[in-house]
């Protein structure tokens, strides 16, 4: 079942189109930065953008900050919203369930396929942005002074290439986990409606509401429980020492949303009448 879903994922052109679009955004930003050499002031604008002009090795982190808040969640919501509702819309859900597979397994396979997509997309963004960063900015400082391929952390401490690789791995893992709540919300809605667009829009409505409440002081009491509260906590991998507090809480809250929303999807989908 999982193999079938993965094969379907990688057979569809839209997987590559969405990934291509995700990779294109950092590329466009890099071209503008490299052409004009006008970065945002340090500490303002996109995270790490001010540092990449002197060392392109940090550009993958800047690329993550560019795609993470909007582009990546939208992609996941669209794909997850389509997971079950899309099958119903095209009339294939009934035939899918005629096969000797349980609906629980189908949901699990859909979720695993979404996780694999997120992993695939993030790795693609990281690799393309790393190549882009080195090609357009190099790993030498703009002043021409010899500089090792180290990068400076937010705390001013130098991160070695090995340390940078470890932190990027942590970033990838954290972002995959961060997308679990989006996937679970959209997947649940996808079992409620036959409209893939409706499910995706529903998930995005939840995320936008969460983002608004995160910035609202009056909503401070519920802030720690909002799905998007800790989305940017991966930046804490680039402090020295790593600030684990928000990373741990972010991973924990994503797992809670995953358990609850996946449970709701399971409760709703297992005995739902499938007419399409």
């Amino acid at each position: 079942m999982i193999a079938v879903e993965l094969a379907k994922l990688f057979r569809r052109p839209r997987t590559y189109v969405i990934t291509g679009l995700l990779c294109a955004l950092p590329l466009i930003v890099a071209i503008f930065l490299a052409t004009t050499r006008v970065p945002p002031p340090p500490g303002q604008g996109g995270a790490f953008l001010s540092a990449v002009l002197s060392n392109g090795a940090l550009y993958p982190a800047a690329a993550m900050a560019l795609v993470m808040p909007v582009f990546l969640p939208v992609s996941v919501a669209v794909l997850a919203g389509d997971a079950v509702a899309g099958e119903a819309t095209t009339g294939t859900l009934r035939y899918l369930l005629i096969r000797p597979v349980g609906r629980t397994r189908l949901l699990a396979a859909k979720l695993i396929a979404l996780v694999v997509f997120v992993l695939f997309a993030i790795v693609a963004v990281l690799l393309t942005s790393y190549v882009t960063g080195l090609a357009l900015f190099g790993s030498q400082p703009s002043a021409g002074v010899a500089l090792p391929a180290d990068v400076t952390s937010l705390s001013g401490v130098t991160i070695t290439p090995a340390g940078l690789a470890l932190r990027m791995l942590g970033t990838v893992a954290y972002i995959v986990i961060s997308m679990l709540s989006v996937a679970a919300i959209a997947l649940f809605l996808s079992t409620v409606t036959d409209s893939a667009l409706g499910a995706a829009m529903g998930a995005l409505a939840v995320l936008v509401t969460s983002q608004v409440l995160v910035t609202l002081d009056a909503a401070a009491a519920v802030r720690p429980y909002l799905p998007t509260r800790y989305w940017l906590a991966w930046i804490d991998f680039f402090r020295d020492p790593v600030l684990w507090r928000d990373i741990e809480r972010g991973a924990g809250i994503q797992l809670v949303y995953l358990v609850v929303l996946l449970g709701m999807a399971w409760a709703n989908f297992l005995t739902r009448d499938v007419v399409n």
């Binding site: 500490g43 303002q44 790490f48 060392n55 400076t152 001013g156 930046i235 709701m264 409760a267 297992l270």
Partner: protein
């Protein structure tokens, strides 16, 4: 017509019950954690005061959050100071000894760190990509993030409140520790502070949470508290400032901020007495402190352009004050009162004091009876 109950609908209902049970369990965990009984060690009020006052040698490391609700506009060149009392500040702190500590002010994608070493202070600002070595004593400086950690603020307020009234408070759990509490009620009618509530680790006296409530207020307008704290000596590597590297700005200075720079310009010349209080004996001329306890206020003489901009900002957000010569504007936030006076030079005055007191100060600075 009643619902038609089938085997399938009963199964669906059972699944939803399971899901709701999981939601109830997960949702109740934070509530149950908050309801754990607090059994702070029995410690007398006098002992707790002594331990807090002596907690400067207690090593610790932690993560703290300070939040101020004061409606104060950002003042020119003082944005980082006003941000401390108008918003939320995330702080990471590592403290080994009075001459070996580090405090980071953490923003979403930036960081401002301050290292105290036995030789000097080092300030790292990611936003400015700047490492600064601050050599020598700093007789005058602006408030900064390191001043609003619970231990720094708690011991400072306790030191100021020696003549005030103390009452015990019920214990509470702060950052997982059962903390003992005390309340400071100022004796002076000149301060805007109704009371300061302070909770500390009963064994070591380390302040864990400080709340400042203004007169007439029902809830604190400034709170700083640990969300995580460990009573252990931090690793030496954490307390070592970053080394300057190519591409990073590095300067050595003996003034940490604009206030120190103003002092070096020699703008000073402050009155010996204001509002009946003598100026505290300090070796600096640009800034002076007057008053006692929590009714203390600070006066700074600002140079021309900065003074002009600061006055304009306060005039826009505050109220005009009639003075014998020149002009003055006052801004009262309930807790902090700020005054700007333009006379022979520009003065900025601030303190946790009543507006009436600063109106007297305005009259004296602007050429009234000194």
């Amino acid at each position: 017509m009643g619902a038609h109950r089938t085997v399938v609908s009963a199964q669906a209902r059972r699944r939803w019950v399971v899901v709701l049970a999981v939601v109830a369990v997960l949702g109740s965990l934070p509530v149950l954690a908050g309801l754990r009984p607090v059994r702070a060690a029995e410690v007398g009020l006098a002992t707790l005061r002594e331990r807090i006052a002596a907690s400067g040698r207690q090593a610790h490391e932690g993560y703290a959050l300070s939040s101020g609700l004061l409606p104060l506009p950002a003042l020119p060149d003082l944005e980082q100071v006003t941000a401390l009392v108008t918003g939320t500040t995330e702080l990471r702190t590592w403290y080994a000894a009075p001459d070996r500590w580090r405090v980071d002010v953490v923003d979403e994608a930036a960081e401002r760190d301050l290292y105290q070493t036995p030789d000097a202070q080092y300030a790292w600002d990611y936003g400015q990509n700047q490492l600064t070595r601050i050599a020598g004593a700093q007789p005058v400086r602006l408030p900064r993030g390191a001043d609003v950690t619970p231990p720094a603020l708690g011991t400072r307020l306790l030191g100021l409140a020696a003549a005030d009234r103390f009452t015990p408070l019920p214990g509470k759990r702060v950052a997982g520790l059962a903390a003992a509490g005390l309340r400071i009620v100022p004796a002076s009618a000149d301060t805007t502070v109704a009371h300061v509530d302070l909770w500390a680790d009963p064994g070591t006296g380390l302040p864990l949470q400080v709340e400042v409530t203004a007169r007439g207020g029902s809830r604190p307008v400034f709170v700083t508290r640990f969300l995580e704290v460990h009573l252990r000596t931090p690793d030496a590597s954490v307390l070592t400032p970053p080394a300057p590297v190519a591409g990073m700005g590095f300067t050595v200075t003996d003034t940490s901020d604009i206030l120190g720079a103003i002092d070096r310009l020699g703008v000073g010349g402050l009155p010996e007495r204001l509002a009946g209080s003598p100026r505290e004996a300090t070796a600096v001329g640009a800034a002076g402190a007057y008053g006692a306890g929590l009714a203390r206020f600070v006066v700074v003489a600002l140079p021309g352009r900065l003074g002009y901009r600061t006055y304009g900002r306060l005039r826009a957000f505050g109220q005009a004050v009639t003075v014998p010569q020149g002009e003055a504007a006052i801004l009262s936030t309930g807790l902090l009162t700020v005054l700007a006076v333009r006379a022979d030079r520009t003065y900025l005055v601030a303190g946790l004091v009543q507006p009436a007191l600063l109106r007297r100060v305005a009259a004296e600075l602007a050429g009234g009876a000194a």
